[in-house]
């Protein structure tokens, strides 16, 4: 997925890395030294450490008002063709000929009508920092790096909700943290939290900054000094236990680093949320994250063996690493999903697995969405879901299609044409109804092939036709570049967002239909001048239900307050989800965006239970981001 080498090369390299990892000797010895000398190490980490993605000054490599790396973005070149810049992704440096037509056709967007973002962050527009002098003095004496530079603060004042990015593009900033601290290890966090309690300072933990629930927004009513606690420098693998297949990792590590470092030793966690390039382990724990390959590896709650969290009351952790315990309610479940309201997760012991020998993408075309869902349901029933199986609806299939890079050979385009002809003309699939399931198999080569056959056989029973690896791989690529695409849309009056839910199997079709229809109707009622993009995919399967993911975007030309309209529509869509038996969230979390529905979701008593935990753990609301409750 990352890097522009071909698959085969990549697998070969991984093999080499596995072998190299074995030859390099035990990793844990090395890390143990690091951990012991955490502070010394910390004081000289001004430069980006080799192999680690996220520097303290994130702005050095990332956009301040958009998604991802500064060097990677979509743009329309002088010829009016879409192109993706940079060198980081498979799509980088390529021309995407279909994108322009798709944007014009889907949104009624026009290249002449641009809405460029404010190019530079003007520090003077940022509220001056409210500093707590005493806290600051004592913090200085600990030697933990901190900053109250405006750029640093703005960077940590937001996640990636539409309204947050929209405001940044307009150069508007609300309440931002007053300072940023970069602890280097668990003990640093303990000190910071102690000081915060002592001086009554509000602490908001910050991991990868990929939240889409307004979780990072500073409560505007907060009068205390707000400290953003950036965990990004706590990013080491402290040890790997090959006997038990666990790894002990600092919680600030981002997904891509964790996987890469483990890969070097021949292991992986297999936890791959779509945001894994930037989201952090601590963030996953705090929001109950879910990974694309959860069918093999499990979601975060299945992967976590041990958690260390620093709270105002002290450190919470379990005393052993038994694989399962019957010791009352699992305290991990107070931590997972606490969304930074109880403390900072500093270290996590996770399951690891040997890297898979073989990976294979695949795809199946179905004549319609109903058949596709029926097939996924059957796959779930037989419990033979591959590492990942996703079903995109027709609109999303077309969307994926629009992202096909320019093909170099006439032969490939001829083949594509032939495939299309076979499916639509020979098999009689309606191009406006068909939909595609993308698959990813992982494991022993032989087993993968066997598994593949089993899944394709089931698909055939529901009228599905195998449609090649390429379609499958492109489907997964879409999820990595979608956030970049949103930035492109916002350059041309198009705003959008994704949201998700989980729902029992018997409700899947109904919820997809109704939520999409509701979005379209609400847009119409709210005066949106162009038909919106309203599309979904079934993105995870479970024994009893599925996770459904919606994309929603529209052209806002002619609207005076597009963000407000957007929020109203999203609100209505969420109400529709709840009315159709969907959950408040499958993995994005609640944050502040969905707080209003918590009571209905978990009942009064449920809210009371959570409240009383908060009251005990953090009576002074030091972790005052006001998420969840």
């Amino acid at each position: 997925m990352l890097g522009n080498t071909s698959d085969r090369q990549r697998i070969a390299q991984q093999r080499l890395r596995i072998i190299a990892g074995h030859l390099q000797g035990p990793v844990d010895g090395d890390s143990a030294i690091l951990a012991a000398e955490c502070k010394a190490q910390g004081s000289k980490t001004d430069v980006c450490r080799e192999g680690k993605t996220v520097p303290r000054r994130r702005q050095e490599i990332m956009k301040w008002n958009g998604w991802g790396y500064s060097d990677s973005k979509f743009l329309f070149n002088k010829k009016g063709q879409a192109e993706f810049t940079g060198k980081r992704y498979r799509l980088s440096g390529m021309i995407i000929p279909g994108l322009k037509d798709w944007m014009e056709g889907t949104f009624g967007a026009n290249l002449q009508h641009k809405t460029p973002a404010t190019p530079l962050l003007t520090s003077s527009a940022v509220q001056p920092a409210t500093l707590n002098k005493a806290f600051l003095e004592e913090l200085k004496s600990t030697g933990i790096p901190f900053s109250h530079d405006a750029e640093d603060r703005v960077f940590r004042a937001h996640g990636h909700c539409l309204h947050e990015i929209f405001a940044l593009r307009e150069g508007k900033f609300g309440r931002v943290p007053d300072m940023v601290v970069w602890p280097n290890c668990h003990n640093d966090v303990v000190k910071i939290v102690e000081l915060a309690c002592k001086h009554n300072v509000c602490v908001i933990p910050y991991g990868g900054g990929t939240s889409v629930s307004s979780a990072l927004e500073c409560p505007p009513e907060e009068t205390r000094s707000i400290v953003s606690l950036d965990t990004s420098q706590m990013n080491r693998i402290l040890w790997i236990d090959e006997k038990n297949l666990t790894a002990h990792v600092e919680a600030g590590i981002v997904g891509q680093d964790l996987e890469r470092l483990l890969n070097e030793s021949g292991y992986c966690t297999g936890h791959e949320p779509d945001s894994m390039e930037f989201s952090s382990l601590g963030g996953w724990v705090a929001t109950r994250a879910s990974g694309m390959k959860k069918n093999i590896y499990g979601n975060i709650e299945d992967l976590v063996i041990h958690i260390r969290m620093v709270t105002p009351r002290g450190v919470i952790e379990k005393s052993c690493q038994g694989p399962r315990m019957s010791t009352g309610p699992d305290i991990h479940h107070f931590i997972m999903g606490s969304e930074g309201t109880l403390g900072v997760v500093t270290e996590v012991t996770m399951k690891i697995r040997p890297m898979p020998e073989y990976q294979k993408y695949g795809s199946v075309v179905f004549p319609n969405f109903e058949q596709g869902v029926a097939c996924l349901r059957e796959v779930a029933k037989q419990r033979c879901a591959p590492a990942s199986i996703r079903l995109m609806d027709n609109e999303q299939f077309k969307f994926g299609h629009a992202l096909k890079p320019q093909v170099s050979s006439i032969f490939t385009s001829f083949l594509d044409g032939l495939k299309t002809f076979y499916i639509t003309k020979f098999k009689g699939f309606d191009p406006n109804r068909l939909c595609v399931a993308t698959l990813l198999f992982e494991g022993d080569r032989e087993k993968v092939l066997q598994h593949e056959k089993q899944v394709y056989d089931i698909a055939a029973k529901f009228g599905g036709l195998a449609a090649g690896e390429d379609n499958g791989q492109r489907g997964y690529m879409l999820t990595f570049v979608i956030a970049y695409l949103r930035d492109l849309g916002m350059d041309y009056y198009v705003i959008g967002e994704s949201f998700e839910t989980s729902v029992p199997w018997d409700r899947v079709l109904d919820i997809c239909r109704n939520v999409k229809a509701r979005i379209i109707q609400e847009c119409k009622d709210k005066g949106v001048q162009f038909p919106p993009l309203s599309t979904c995919r079934v993105t995870q399967t479970y024994d009893t239900g599925a996770c459904v993911y919606f994309y929603f975007a529209f052209n806002y030309r002619g609207l005076s307050d597009p963000v407000h309209v957007y929020e109203q529509v999203e609100h209505a869509a969420r109400e529709e989800i709840l009315a159709n038996g969907g959950s408040l969230s499958h993995h994005h979390g609640v944050g502040k965006l969905r707080k209003e529905w918590m009571r209905d979701t978990v009942s009064n008593v449920g809210v009371g239970m959570l409240k009383s935990v908060k009251d005990y753990v953090d009576p002074d609301n030091i972790f005052g981001n006001r998420n969840l409750l």
Partner: protein, 682 residues
């Protein structure tokens, strides 16, 4: 008030309505055969392929819901599941429609012929038809029900406009008509038993059948919200069973939305006119039979004026339910397991039903005859009180009709009074169409009660007892009343207010309101009065009377103006027969009801009592003989708890709380102030 949002307060005269076009005009100018054989290609719901009746049946039989219920029934009764399944299959067989285009074409041809002989015109609003045909969502058609003709007429119209034909819920009694039943089935009717209270299996097959058709959009579903034909031309209290079923798919999220279309069918002259009157007077209605239908062919030779069919604005169930129903209540139990609707949903469906019936009422076209019938009836009663039989001078009738016409218009009635024709001509043409009911002689008009109704030629009519004479007069009066009733909904609220002002001991607003609220409550089985909308209705009534200058409203008081006296008198006497009727029923219950009066005996007994009083001259209103009124008043008393149904071995007996009934009677008669009788219950 929750209902406030449903009826925004607005001037009824500003209501926008579509234009009509006469469907028969084209039929009179071109070949019926070609019309019946023409290409019929309606737009289908979301481009769906039409579903064969057999496929539909198997979908129903394989549904999760039915599966569940079959299992349940089999466990409860110990019968084999296959056995129960077979029963379900038989029920479905008995119920299901099998729409065939050839039958529809046959009807298209014959109905064209019949309609052209019977009616001068069939006017429909094409805009409305096209509006409901845009099948973004499944459609439910809710026509008003005044005649057997209704559903054939509906299908005929939709066929003519090339719109998907509905499947229609029909009562099982049609099935009795051997050949015709099957014909109707082939033109889209499906048959349901009138009562199947506890039969789980039947209910399950039935509801699944309707829902399957609706959810998949195979065809619009049509049924009569009033459940049966209204014999009195007043709208009937809506029945909720089918409405519950058709709303269910939306509430459970199985479809995004459902469009419900109220359709108002108004007849200038109802085919069943005298039939209904007889039925209400206790001459039992003939059982539907094919031979009976042929006997009815003599109606073919008469002129029945015109029909107006108005397709109202489609109502989205989603918007009705917005903010009223929490759909999350279906999240915790599998949706295919049948459950009793929650209270929230029951009250939602009930309110929606009333709202839809009112929407039907609003778009009912009223012909000049409705005004004339009202005036002639009032005059008839005055004459009777005075012991005269003089009738009304034609010019006087015309003048009064013009006055009433203007009032109707101000109240927002959908009145079809040809303005380009002089009023006298309008009146005389109306009178001639209804010459069976009125007699004009020497420039005076009166009800044709003298003829002794229409005595059948075969019957001997030598010895006519006073009772028989009374009954035959009543046929005329009741027929006339049914035309008056067509317009009742227009001034029902002002009339309740006028009567309340009359009855209240002072002009104090609060007192009038109490009195209004009492009457409204008393009559809520008689007229369509939305539950819980008392304040709303009161304000609407005040608004209308103030607007027409009949009433002045101050901070504290309601005062009838000088020029308002006439209006108020008219309105009061409109409602008077009902007031008197309810009092008589009360009196009967106090004076004559025995310990073991059963519900079944009630109507004959009260009828005997009323006849006695009428003959003795102690009662003015012959129309009180209407069994409809008697049943409604009993229902009201039961609702108020003044009478109780005691379950006995065979059938329920009525236990009368004489004190309460007595005080209700006195309050109705204005002899008791409202509050006392109102009690805690009201």
């Amino acid at each position: 008030m929750a209902t406030e949002a449903i009826y925004p307060h607005r001037d009824p005269m500003l209501k926008k309505r579509d234009d009509f076009e006469d469907m028969l005009e084209e039929r009179r100018n071109s070949s019926d055969l070609r019309y019946a054989l023409r290409c019929y290609t309606p737009v289908l719901y979301k481009g769906l392929a039409p579903c064969k009746a057999s496929m539909l049946k198997s979908m129903v039989l394989q549904s999760d819901q039915l599966h569940h219920v079959i299992g349940q029934v089999s466990r409860e009764t110990g019968r084999a599941a296959d056995d129960v399944q077979e029963e379900a299959s038989a029920i479905l067989e008995e119920m299901a429609h099998c729409l065939q285009l050839s039958t529809v074409r046959f009807f298209a041809f014959t109905l064209s012929k019949v309609f052209k002989t019977l009616f001068r015109s069939i006017c429909v609003n094409e805009e409305g038809i096209q509006r409901q045909a845009i099948q973004e969502h499944p459609v439910v058609l809710l026509p008003s029900h005044r005649s057997y003709m209704d559903f054939l007429l509906m299908s005929y119209i939709l066929y003519t406009y090339d719109i998907a034909l509905p499947v229609i819920a029909a009562g099982m009694d049609f099935m009795g008509m051997k050949f015709v039943g099957e014909m109707l089935r082939m033109s889209g009717a499906f048959f349901i038993r009138r009562s199947f209270g506890g039969d789980k299996l039947y209910w399950s097959v039935f509801s699944e059948y309707v829902k399957t058709m609706l959810k998949n959009g195979f065809a619009p579903v049509e049924f009569f919200l009033e459940g049966t034909r209204s014999r009195t031309s007043k709208s009937l209290t809506p029945k909720l069973g089918l409405l519950n079923i058709v709303m269910d798919p939306y509430l459970k999220g199985e479809v995004y939305d459902i469009n419900v279309v109220p359709v108002s069918i108004s007849y200038e002259r109802i085919l069943e006119e005298a039939l209904y009157a007889r039925e209400m007077l206790g001459v039992p209605k003939p059982k539907e039979s094919t031979s009976g239908l042929f006997k009815a062919r003599k109606v073919l030779s008469e002129d029945y004026g015109s029909i107006h069919v108005y397709f109202g604005q489609p109502v989205s169930v989603r918007s009705l339910a917005q903010g009223r129903v929490n759909r999350c209540q279906f999240n915790l139990v599998p949706r295919h397991i049948p459950r009793r609707p929650s209270e929230e949903i029951q009250s939602f469906v009930n309110d929606s039903a009333y709202r839809l019936v009112r929407a039907q009422e609003e778009n009912m076209v009223l012909k000049p005859w409705v005004l004339l019938a009202s005036l002639l009836l009032q005059n008839h009663h005055q004459d009777q009180t005075a012991g005269q039989k003089r009738g009304m001078v034609l010019e006087e009738l015309t003048a009064q009709a013009v006055w009433l016409r203007d009032m109707f218009r101000e109240y927002g009635a959908f009145l079809h009074w040809p303005d380009h024709v002089p009023p006298s001509e309008v009146v005389s043409s109306s009178l001639s169409l209804h010459r069976g009911l009125v007699r004009v002689c020497e420039g005076r008009v009166q009800l044709a009660v003298e003829q002794g109704g229409q005595v059948k030629p075969g019957e001997p009519h030598s010895t006519v007892t006073p009772e028989e004479e009374l009954l035959s007069q009543a046929v005329i009066v009741l027929s006339c009343a049914s035309y008056r009733n067509q317009g009742l909904h227009v001034f029902l609220r002002p009339a309740l207010l006028a009567s309340a002002i009359n009855a209240a001991s002072s002009n104090l607003k609060q007192e009038v309101f109490n009195s209004f609220s009492f009457l409204r409550n008393m009559f809520s089985n008689e007229f369509i009065l939305c539950p819980g909308a008392t304040v709303q209705d009161f304000e609407e009534a005040c608004y209308l009377l103030v607007k027409t200058g009949a009433l002045q409203v101050t901070q504290q008081e309601l005062l009838v103006t000088e020029r308002g006296q006439r209006t108020v008198a008219f309105l009061t006497s409109m409602l008077d027969p009902f007031l008197q009727g309810y009092q008589v029923v009360c009196r009967f219950l106090c004076e004559e009801a025995t310990e073991n009066l059963t519900e079944k005996q009630f109507v004959p007994a009260v009828r005997k009592f009323i006849i006695k009083h009428l003959l003795a001259g102690r009662l003015r209103y012959t129309e009180v003989l209407s069994s409809d009124l008697q049943k409604n008043s009993l229902a009201a008393l039961l609702r108020l708890g003044a009478v109780q149904k005691i379950k006995a071995a065979e059938q329920g007996t009525l236990k009368v709380n004489k004190v309460m009934v007595n005080s209700l009677e006195d309050t109705l008669g204005g002899r008791l102030p409202t509050q006392k009788a109102v009690g805690a219950r009201l």
